[in-house]
Amino acid sequence: MRRLWVTTLPTLMLLVVLEGLKRAGALPVFIPGPGQVLAAAWARPQLLWDNLLPTAGTATEGFVIAAVVTLAAAGIGTAVRRVWGAVYGLGVVLHAIPVIATAPLLALWLGTGAGMHVVIVALAAQFPLLVGAMQGLAAADARQIEMLHCLSASRWQMFRYLQLPSALPFLFAGFKVATPLAVLGAVTAEWAGADRGIGAVMLNALFSYDIVTVWLAVLTCCAFAGLAYAAWSLIERSALRWNRTVELPT
């Protein structure tokens, strides 16, 4: 509970400061006060739900696909050392593609449906997932590998008993970095063509100078990404209890 406070307090304080500034008239007109945004959300909860759910769905779907593909790619890169560099290279190049520019092109190829959205999310989130998987699968201790080799462990057993558990801290780091990227990817994809979703709400509000709704969409994205991050932290804490047996003086 204390941890929760420590994590969320700076954000809450920022919101309070913004509200104070707005009431004092110190903020320009294109920055609404958090109170106004909250009131807008309160007034139209249906708008929020109807549009958050498709965005969250696409972000989750693309994230899962990217996680599975990068883990498989990292598995191949680890098993066949000759392609290790090639896998990394492909990841870097895909990551360097500016999604904002390619989204309209992908919309031309794949249409503006769910498929295009998921592909963009996967592209936006893949690199941290790939790095986490590659570094993680290579992180197994050489002496542990010898120990399992001496027991004639199969490739699969080596993966299951050693490589996967050693990779977990790295995988979780990748998950945490990739989560907001997936949300961002979903919004970007919706900009390229969608009639529902937070990105669509944002774009429509921008065109009609509905500043409050733009900010409502922005904050909804932040809140969703923050919650997803918190969920990863909780899972990580219970999955990696062995990793925190060192107690440093405080």
Binding site: D141, R143, E146, L148, L151, A153, P165, W242, N243, T245
Partner: protein, 268 residues
């Protein structure tokens, strides 16, 4: 049969790391009868760990051959006939002590070891870790971790047990107790045991045959037969036979011997 004769015949190995190649072993030979207890002693860096890793088929020799009960080291490993206690405990940090000791069983896909093998719980009690079954390795002292690693090496009841300074991290009292326990387990199981140690007294007290290694290049310079009867008792630590063998080993280590050449495996 649950023991195997170990014959290492003129084995050589060169490490090609960064920099100059290191001749870790040059024509090293030794022989240990089935069910025998051998000890390897020699200065740091002379290739003791390397020799054990060759026997366990972790490294391949550049030349020479290794036979365990007539089989190659690869066949022996694939039959799960080799137990290895490494110089570091190498426990999996995310598994409890019990789960670590059970790991070899999980890998061979059996619930218990071969006939007559002790259960994981019994082995944990034997090495004095009762009450710590559910502790994680990070919560144990170095010596406790090493004892858990010994229990793990015994759980499949191996035909040949390789021990690389297993008691280096233990205090004198625990070490003495573990040595006696190890001798008891060894005598009961009939396994062939090969122990690396830095202690002359420990080598002579434990082994039937002490192999003295010399460095650069690593080879077995001398073999000392220990004439003490079994079972060994702590009183024997003061016996003249032990003293004589210890002196012989000391002479081998410090080069005051008339026959420093490697002992040929065929002569056994």
């Amino acid at each position: 049969m649950s023991s195997r004769e170990l014959v290492i015949d003129r084995v050589s190995l060169v490490f090609h790391g960064r920099g100059d190649p290191v001749i870790a072993l040059d024509s090293a030979s030794l022989a240990l009868p089935g069910g025998g207890f051998g000890a390897i002693i020699g200065p740091s860096g002379c290739g003791k760990s390397t020799l054990l890793r060759l026997v366990a088929d972790i490294l391949r020799p550049d030349a020479g051959s290794i036979r365990l009960g007539g089989q190659t080291q690869r066949q022996a490993r694939q039959e799960h006939a080799i137990g290895f206690v490494f110089q570091q405990p190498t426990l999996l940090p995310w598994r409890s002590v019990l789960q670590n000791v059970e790991l070899p069983l999980a890998i061979v896909g059996r619930r218990s070891g071969r006939g007559g093998a002790l259960s994981p719980a019994e082995l944990i009690e034997l090495v004095g870790l009762k009450g710590f079954e559910n502790a994680l390795p990070g919560e144990l002292s170095g010596g406790m971790q090493q004892r858990a690693a010994i229990a793990r090496a015994l759980v499949l009841r191996p035909d040949i047990l390789l021990l690389d300074e297993p008691f280096g991290a233990l205090d004198e009292i625990t070490r003495q107790r573990m040595n006696l326990e190890l001798l008891r387990i060894w005598a009961e199981s009939g396994t062939t045991a090969l122990l690396v140690t830095h202690s002359i007294a420990e080598a002579v007290f434990m082994a039937d045959r002490v192999f003295v290694m010399s460095p650069r290049p690593g080879r077995v310079a001398q073999t000392v037969e220990v004439a003490l009867p079994r079972p060994r008792t702590l009183e024997m630590m003061r016996s003249p036979e032990l003293f004589a063998s210890a002196n012989e080993v000391r002479d081998g280590l410090f080069g005051r011997t008339g026959h420093p050449s490697a002992v040929n495996a065929e002569s056994w």
